[in-house]
Assembly symmetry: C2
Homo-oligomer: 113 residues x 2
């Protein structure tokens, strides 16, 4: 199970996970949330079957299954996750939950003793 490099960026309203996946198409990649707060990105790069008269002179590119897991921050909205793949780079956007409403100041009445 190979790893693949990733960047993570934080924006005011979202997190973006950017992962190199050269040679993979959207259909080869799976994006899921496990255990309520773990973003799991997995896929498989297969080597094309050798055609007749074809032989490998050099073979450096990694193939096989890979997986990346990221523990999502508390304010990640796991119902608002989207993913897009372009030029072999996958971007997964996870929106943030709105911050909790600030507690209203409470006025404590002072009883007259």
């Amino acid at each position: 199970m190979a790893s693949t490099p990733a960047d993570v960026k934080e924006y005011p309203n979202s997190y973006i996970f950017i992962i190199d996946m050269p040679g993979l198409k959207s259909g080869d990649i799976k994006v899921a949330v496990e255990d309520e707060n773990v973003l799991v990105i997995s896929g498989e790069r297969k080597r094309e079957e050798a055609k007749e008269g074809e032989k490998y002179v050099r073979m450096e590119r990694r193939i096989g299954k890979f997986m990346r897991k990221f523990v999502l921050p508390e304010n990640a909205n796991i119902d608002k996750i989207s993913a897009a793949c372009e030029d072999g780079v996958l971007s997964v956007t996870v929106e943030k939950l709105p911050p909790p409403e600030p507690k209203k100041p409470r006025t404590i009445e002072i009883r007259v003793g």
Copy 2:
């Protein structure tokens, strides 16, 4: 100057150089032949400029200039090289020169002494 993994395949009539270039578009990549028989593939992956309110939480993906050089075999036809980029993977096809014509059998006349 970073390296990037490559496969090289040989076919009956061509060689194909396959190089991972996630995030690069055709315009970011240069393919050239130097010194008559060296295939030079170079490019640059730039990190996008930070937008307002953006910050990196994790930064593993390599950026910067990269280059790969391959000494071409003698039978490579450097006038017939083509390149295509798909899903962050560059494929450079170098056709082979036709094999030299087999030498015709020479008949040596035998002089009558």
